[in-house]
Symmetry: C3
Subunit: 159 residues, 3 copies
């Protein structure tokens, strides 16, 4: 009898989650969003990645076109701790745990874009110092990219 | 004679304020805006409420559709000091003084929206822990709501 | 022979920079952007000015309509160190070095707009206390101006 109660509770929760998800999808539809990261505090950056996962959960990966634009100190999100000393950034926050989260978001279609000006200014070697960035992820200017995406209809969020 | 001078000064100031107000209204017309609060520093939050009052003064309550979207640590704005320990938030900033300001803004038509994801994640009981929130103020996801409102033509301000 | 090598390197770098610039211009086209400054940390403000210079470099001054809207503590960017004590702001960041940078940006067409509400609230005398502000740079309300510009198609960046 107790086991059955547990099952009923479990199924009720499942049904509620499922309904909440459908309601959220109906409310939100398709979205285009750019997240702006230009700070190096590891806690705030980890919070931003959680925000993005919650955003995906609410809207559905298939409905969401979400890009993270990083420039200035924000590149520390992808900078490995070992590489930090070689660069002019104060933080290298791409620990193994953060790398796993970033890969998890990429697998759900999130794009991470890196400012070319910052690469030069902060003496960062894309291939050696940053986690999993290739040519296509580099934009000429982070700030100009933020303006470009908004002009294309992307909403702006600074987490 | 002195009394008359005081009256003239008073009327001049009144006239100037009135003119400034008309000029501001003509410049600004009708506005739709969303304010983003995801931080828990009480000073910054109090500053945000002042910004909103100034916004109303400049545009006129009847011309302004302004929503405050709170998620993550931002919910501390509505969390009462007594309730803070029961939750996973570090601050409960809804003192009596802040409650009065929030009610003042609501009376002028400002909406305060609360992220449902955060309620679960931070173990907050809407009815017991938050100041004056009801069902209609809860949105499925704070970040998705920010994107939704911008797509509907709301300007974004992070105070 | 060595001299020639240096020349070849120099010309190659020039050519690369030139190509990068053309590519950036094609990517970005004409842009309208508003930068939001409401904080008084001198480092973050200096960073914002660097962001703006990089933005100009990427898009080209002739393609860029960029306004900086300052309100609240953000007015410290234009407040001279000598004048700070006379006002209710905690910082006066317009040192000679910052003044030179601000003039440099203005010469490239950047507008700096000052909130009239803050002038009153913080007891700032535009003519005596702020660096190079005239009547045309004063807007009735910083926050309402941010909403107005976004409604006119300006992208929003909080640096």
């Amino acid at each position: 009898m107790k086991t059955m109660n547990v099952w009923v509770s479990f199924l009720t929760v499942l049904a509620l989650l499922f309904t909440a998800n459908i309601m959220a999808n109906e409310r939100y539809g398709k979205q285009k969003v750019v997240y702006h990261i230009n700070y190096d505090d590891p806690k705030t950056q980890a919070g931003a990645l959680r925000n993005i996962q919650n955003h995906i959960n609410a809207v559905g990966a298939e409905n969401l076109d979400l890009k993270v634009v990083m420039h200035g100190n924000g590149l520390s999100l992808l900078l490995t701790p070992d590489a930090q000393e070689r660069t002019k950034l104060d933080y290298g926050n791409a620990t193994e745990e953060m790398q796993a989260r970033i890969t998890g978001l990429k697998d759900q279609g999130i794009g991470f874009q890196v400012c070319s000006n910052t690469l030069k200014g902060k003496q960062i070697d894309v291939m050696k110092d940053l986690y999993d960035v290739d040519e296509a992820d580099i934009v000429p200017s982070g700030v100009a990219e933020l303006a470009r995406l908004q002009a294309m209809g992307y909403a702006y969020i600074k987490p």
